[in-house]
Symmetry: C2
Subunit: 312 residues, 2 copies
DNA sequence: TCCTCGTACAACCGGTGGTTGTACGGCGGC
DNA sequence: GCCGCCGTACAACCACCGGTTGTACGAGGA
């Protein structure tokens, strides 16, 4: 069947206007074109849809039966195009398996832009798979830290460093560094720092591994992870064990837990979040996210920061 | 929006096959054509629907959102075309305001062709209006008795004499003619015959009026009509009043009513039913109706019949 | 009877959508 | 690791579909 939509629209217009001529000028074509279209559709369907009377055209019984279906087709088409109107769909963002810090960024964004529906996922996949997911459109965006030369990214995919997030030292009140206003990475040598659950294979594990190597720190990234609450409880109770945390990490830790959050400087180890996206993705939420990140986190990008070698 | 259905079909095919090439040969076009169509639709919608991978194409998130709507459009179109498939719709037949005799013909037809859905109406309209209704497609067919020269019918409308229905005399048991096997019209002179409810303006009224004139009968077509039951009761109870009836008139008259049904001959007054229809109406029920009438009622079309002058 | 209004038919024409031919890029086999 | 295969995108060309203008025809209304 060769029914085309312009013809269906024409039939509806004629039925509603009652004349070919009026329908024609409503559609912006000549009366003859309307006549042709209707005649072609009638031939295609094998029935007469309109009866031509001196003052216009009226629907036959078959036309009356057809009309609501024709309108349904147009409505369905309308819905189809609406279904992909940019912004209609939640923005799907991956946070690379480690929700802790990145989720804080997204919570911030959500507070600032509640109109953007978010679909936050943690694929738990390797960098390559995430890259592929962004390229093939099953993700709108992903956070990662890796720096890849532009020409090694798939065409159409861009990786942009949007946030340098400084990390904080978290200690209990009994810790020797608990009273410091700030510490340097060198100060941390000899102290035990626990970042459980980060295997060496993960980006975060690699990050802290290199941080430990560069400054001679004792960071245990391999230990078992009993959850953030447990970790913070351990830190609060201990005079020797500390941990790191992002400043915006959304943690509702147990009330009454006495913890110290101490900035690290000279240099400030920052975690470099890059936003991975297709440059032709028209989702307005994506543009909003990018703008928000660049605007809100443009502060500490000073020279006195540290990032791992693989992110430089 | 210039979305065309062939493109929507293409998108569905590509989504289901996973490759442009396979979809192309399924649709009977070249791969390049498929590529063009998809690209055009993507440009039109402003989003990428497919991600091109080495082994074919996969839906993006937008594509996944679009696909069910695309299928809905095609289903709606399918239903639209199905809605006018000839025979899908009940056959709409007019019996010209007088159901009695013609309804019998249609009951016969319905018994023979139960698969044809019927929509029997009695517009109660003048011949001209019925003619217009048939011409403009708001009736599939109409029964009438008038004979009109072919060239005075609107183009596309045909009037065909399909049934000559003989009329029967109905009397009570006390009527002087009650014992006759058959009567002639001349025999009826001097007897009172009641055909209530038929004004002179109606076809039936004109029929009996002319019958009365031709044979000097006393036919009262103007009296008040209290319904067929009342009329038959009157006839059954009377030794002088008779009435006419079609042999197939569907009457469930009160049980125990003693009536005589007497054929009329030399000549036999027949009521000439013509079937009015458009010759381009493809409804299969219409063809079946016409064939049924011509086949089932081809008997008494002998020379010894009487029809009014305006039907000759 | 004439005029007006509205649709159908004819001839012409331009643009859309097809085709073939070719380039390019990624994966898998040798 | 290189080459060949497979699959899509781009370019050039062309036919045909769908539009336009011009005109005929039929039916009501004044």
């Amino acid at each position: 069947m060769e029914v085309d939509l312009e013809t269906v629209r024409t039939v509806v217009a004629v039925a509603e206007e009652g004349q070919f001529q009026v329908a024609a000028q409503e559609l912006g074509v000549s009366q003859q074109a309307v006549s042709k279209r209707v005649a072609a559709l009638e031939a295609e369907l094998g029935v007469r849809l309109f009866t031509r009377v001196p003052r216009g055209a009226r629907l036959t019984l078959d036309g009356q039966a057809f009309l609501p279906h024709a309108k349904a087709v147009l409505r369905a088409l309308e819905k189809a195009t609406a279904s992909v109107r940019p912004g209609r769909r939640p923005l799907r963002v991956d946070v690379m398996g480690t929700r802790v810090m990145t989720a804080g960024l997204l919570q911030d964004f959500h507070r600032a832009h509640p109109e953007v529906a978010l679909d936050v996922v943690a694929l738990g996949a390797a960098g390559k798979a995430v890259l592929a997911a962004v390229r093939d459109g099953s993700l709108d965006a992903a956070f990662w830290a890796r720096r890849i030369p532009e020409d090694q990214l798939p065409p159409g995919v861009r990786s942009e460093r949007v946030v340098d997030e400084p990390i904080l030292l978290v200690t209990g009140t009994g810790h020797p560094l608990a009273g410091a206003d700030a510490v340097t990475p060198a100060d941390l040598a000899g102290h035990r720092i626990r970042m459980p659950g980060l295997g060496q294979g993960t980006e975060w594990g690699a990050y802290y591994g290199e941080l430990a190597d560069d400054f001679g720190l004792d960071i245990d990234v391999a230990g078992p992870n009993f959850g953030a609450d447990h970790l913070l409880q351990t830190v609060a109770d201990s005079a020797t064990v500390a941990t790191f945390m992002g400043p915006r990490t959304p943690l509702a830790y147990p009330a009454g837990l006495e913890l110290r959050m101490i900035p690290v400087h000279r240099p400030t180890p920052v975690y470099p979040h890059s936003l991975l996206r297709r440059d032709d993705n028209p989702h307005p939420g994506l543009a909003a996210l990018r703008a928000h990140l660049l605007r809100a986190y443009s502060e500490p990008r000073g020279s006195d920061t540290w990032v791992p070698a693989w992110a430089r």
